[in-house]
Amino acid sequence: MAIDIYKINPEFRDIMPKEIIDLEENATWAQNQEKPRGIKELPETKEILEEHSLCAGCPEAAALRYVLSALPKPEETIIVNSTGCTSLMFPHIALHTVHSLFGNQNAVATGIRRVLDWRFPDTEKDVVVLAGDGATVDIGLDYTLQSFFRQENITTICFDNEVYANTGGQESGATPKGQVFKMAPTGKKFEKVKMWELAVTSGCHYSMNMTASAPKSVAKAVREAILVAREIGPTFLNIYTPCILEIGLSANEGLGEMKDQDKDRFASFKHVSPEAEEFLKKCKAEGKL
């Protein structure tokens, strides 16, 4: 079915909002592409994210745009979300998305993955989890790791802002040690959880820790992670998207913060399993990357 579902019934065309018509005519669907989609098209094409309702200058909104621009096959992609700031953006995404509960995102994604494999054995469909650090590292840790253990063909992306932002700035497992936040009034007592390392130990074939400071790098990681998940096994991306509000920065200071952290807590970490490495070489040779 794929791209056909975005074609507007001619009978209703005259009453369709412009953004829906744009979506049909000018969005970068994989099926219409000669070469892989990418962030270069963002200025000229209709984005899969219509708008967002996050704070002005929120790096998370920018990162989501990079992620969506890099999906290898958006018309066959399902994104599972969790509670938090990201859930504010999900209603604006022109794909099948799910918001279920707080923390169960990898379990819901597992159910969807298993059934898509069963119902559509001959169609490549991608399942991507996108959730914050509270959902991934704290309340949903069990379900995240278990989906890695089970080798589910899912890509898990954590937008790590190191804080429970949407509930007003409480310490999370991803908060660095010593940071004063609500619920940690004297500073956090233990180290930041290195989820990208847990992902490797738990069986992910591709795991990265990075910031969203370089759009191209984010897009490349997303694309590689999804292709590996499709063919080989679970993949994980931990992407720093600071909550400028909670760390006292202005709307124009998010990028600088991410660049600073490129050299510190989010210094690039990349693990690719030998199988995944071989597969990615093959993808590159075939022009899929």
């Binding site: 209603p91 604006h92 794909l95 918001h99 509960l101 379990a107 379900y143």
Partner: protein
């Protein structure tokens, strides 16, 4: 293992001939078997063209979950795996059903509470999955005994709740449950309850149709909410995500949706009446002024008490409720015509069924309602205990 692409217009992927629920439940010839509730659930699922099942061990439902796994290995069930715990399992079930699968799972007692956050989420997303709940006590102290306290926690989740008395009813109800839950104007989850051990582990004679027939598959594109499979246009462009906005849209959306979920449960009544042969079953002396209102195996014990009391010249009747959600108020009132004293025997400490009955009858019926006998923690409820309750009450009234 099978492939869904092996399915034809007339046969499912495991080669069973596709039939309607009416044929399966009413017309197909049946043969006598002797099996436990767990075994009979396997036989029911085998005949239901089930796409997906997720399992997790907890006594007393584990055997039923194993047997569904065997069905997957034998090619009858599309996909099956063990989840990490009940919260994970019920979330996985949600994912399976959202993606368009006819989905079944099983749990018991503490597992129900561990998974609890998922059940209103199930009904809120209008998935028609089936949970077979083999009721058991809730800790603490640790118990595995038959007690149905967890059902009280399920009452306001927006799921339909049916209650089977015995092995035969479990077979028939668990088949009908898929069909009613999947009706486009209903399309909410269904919880089919039996009392653990008393039904799950007790071998009884049961009449089953042949296993070379099975229900037509679930049709996800008739769902009131599109399945999450990238095959239909996605909803989008909510400029104000209603969930997070304290505005009129948020209130209105939540209010209307919550009413709609409950209305959907109400709309299941005619279908349930058809497939269950009525929402209540009455046995005993029709003109009795004493009635036992029951569900599950308490019905069986009440029927024994009814027979024992009749030998002593006391006329009673047993009104067995087969659905708890929707609650069969109209049918209960009709069955209580002429009744002056109602007893509600229960296998739990809180008396949730007594509260349900009292709520339904308040200002509608003048009968005295006695919540008892009430046993808990898996204690047995012999006929004598029920008779004692009746005698104490009647004598207390100076009869």
């Amino acid at each position: 293992m099978s492939r869904i692409t092996d399915m034809t217009d007339t046969h499912n992927w495991s080669g069973q001939k596709l039939v309607t629920a009416d044929h399966m439940l009413f017309d197909a010839p049946r043969e006598k078997h002797f099996m436990t509730g767990s075994e009979v659930l396997k036989e029911a699922i085998k005949r239901c063209t089930v796409d997906a099942s997720v399992s997790y061990p907890i006594t007393p439902q584990s055997e039923a979950a194993h047997l569904i796994g065997e069905l997957w290995a034998e090619g009858y069930v599309g996909t099956y795996f063990r989840g990490e715990n009940e919260f994970g399992v019920m979330s996985e079930v949600a994912g399976c059903a959202m993606a368009g699968a006819r989905t079944v799972t099983t749990t018991s007692g503490p597992g129900t509470l561990r998974a609890m956050e998922n059940f209103p989420q199930w009904s809120g997303t209008r998935i028609p999955c089936q949970l077979v709940l083999m009721a058991r006590g809730i800790n603490s102290p640790l118990t595995i005994q038959p007690d149905n306290l967890e059902v009280s926690f399920m009452l306001e989740t927006g799921c339909m709740i049916w209650y089977a008395e015995n092995v035969q009813e479990l077979f028939d109800m668990s088949i009908a449950a898929f069909i009613v839950a999947e009706k486009p104007d209903v399309h909410v989850p269904i919880v089919t309850v039996v009392d653990g051990f008393f039904v799950s582990h007790t071998r009884e004679s049961v009449m089953l149709p042949a296993d070379d027939i099975a229900l037509f598959p679930y049709e996800p594109y008739k769902s009131p909410l599109p399945p999450i499979d990238s095959e239909t246009p996605p909803g989008r462009f909510l400029r104000d995500p209603f969930v997070m906005k304290s505005n009129y849209i948020s209130y209105a959306t939540h209010a209307s949706w919550q009413w709609e979920v409950r209305s959907a449960v109400e709309r299941s009544r005619p279908y349930a009446e058809h497939f269950l042969n009525g929402l209540v079953h009455t046995t005993g002396n029709e003109d009795a002024t004493i009635a036992f209102v029951t569900c599950g195996t308490a019905s069986h014990q009440a029927k024994e008490a009814q027979r024992d009391l009749e030998k002593q010249g006391i006329k009673t009747k047993v009104i067995k409720l087969r659905t708890i959600r929707p609650f069969p108020t109209k049918e209960l009132l009709a069955a209580l015509d002429g009744v002056t004293d109602v007893f509600v025997p229960e296998f739990n400490v809180v008396g949730w069924l007594e509260k349900e009955v009292k709520t339904a009858l308040y200002n509608k019926h003048s009968a005295a309602i006695v919540g008892g006998p009430r046993v808990a923690g898996g204690m047995s409820m012999p006929s004598e205990a029920i008779q004692k309750e009746v005698f104490e009450h009647i004598n207390g009234k100076g009869a």
